[in-house]
Symmetry: C2
Subunit: 105 residues, 2 copies
């Protein structure tokens, strides 16, 4: 229950092929197997209808047990190598981390 969500919202550069995008997503997913504090990964294409997505097209959500785990992930050599490749294909990127809280209304 103490999990921390790591949300990356992205827009790939024009000219990035579908094959390249698929390979990058596989590479991102594969970090789960290589970086211990990263517990799970999911992604999806933006399907919003409110036109407040500011051109972003993809969402990537990773889950960690602790904020410290995200720091370990960020500085991990496997992540650093992947991030350099991945960010090179992005036109826009936004990263937010948060510890989800529910509210009793």
């Amino acid at each position: 229950m103490g999990e921390v969500k790591h949300i990356l919202v992205a827009k790939f550069k024009d000219g990035t092929s579908q094959q390249q995008i698929d390979d990058l997503i596989k590479g991102y997913a594969n970090l789960v197997n290589q970086i211990e504090p990263m517990k799970s990964f999911q992604w999806g294409k933006d399907v919003s209808i409110e036109n407040m997505h500011q051109g972003f097209t993809h969402v990537f959500e990773s889950t960690f047990e602790t904020i410290e785990g995200i720091a370990t992930y960020v500085s991990h050599p496997v992540h650093v190598e992947f991030a350099t490749l991945f960010l090179g294909h992005l036109d826009k990127v936004l990263i937010v981390d948060y510890k989800p809280t529910s509210v009793d209304p």
Copy 2:
């Protein structure tokens, strides 16, 4: 498993008090009780360390069973009233919806 995530990333206007922020978050959470297709709600403050959050400070995640459910939510009078109030207190906002997919690396 067919759920759709509705992610809103926000920065409140300078001068919005903590009490106002707390009340707005309670109002957001309370939409779950009033708008049938909205299944759950959670939120958290940005704790990211990569400095790629572009000034955004809060994340709000709602879950729906279908993309059509989000359309019902967006046009629901209770949501329209809340959104007008909420957006009036925001300096920045980004909304993306996605159907989470896992990848077998």
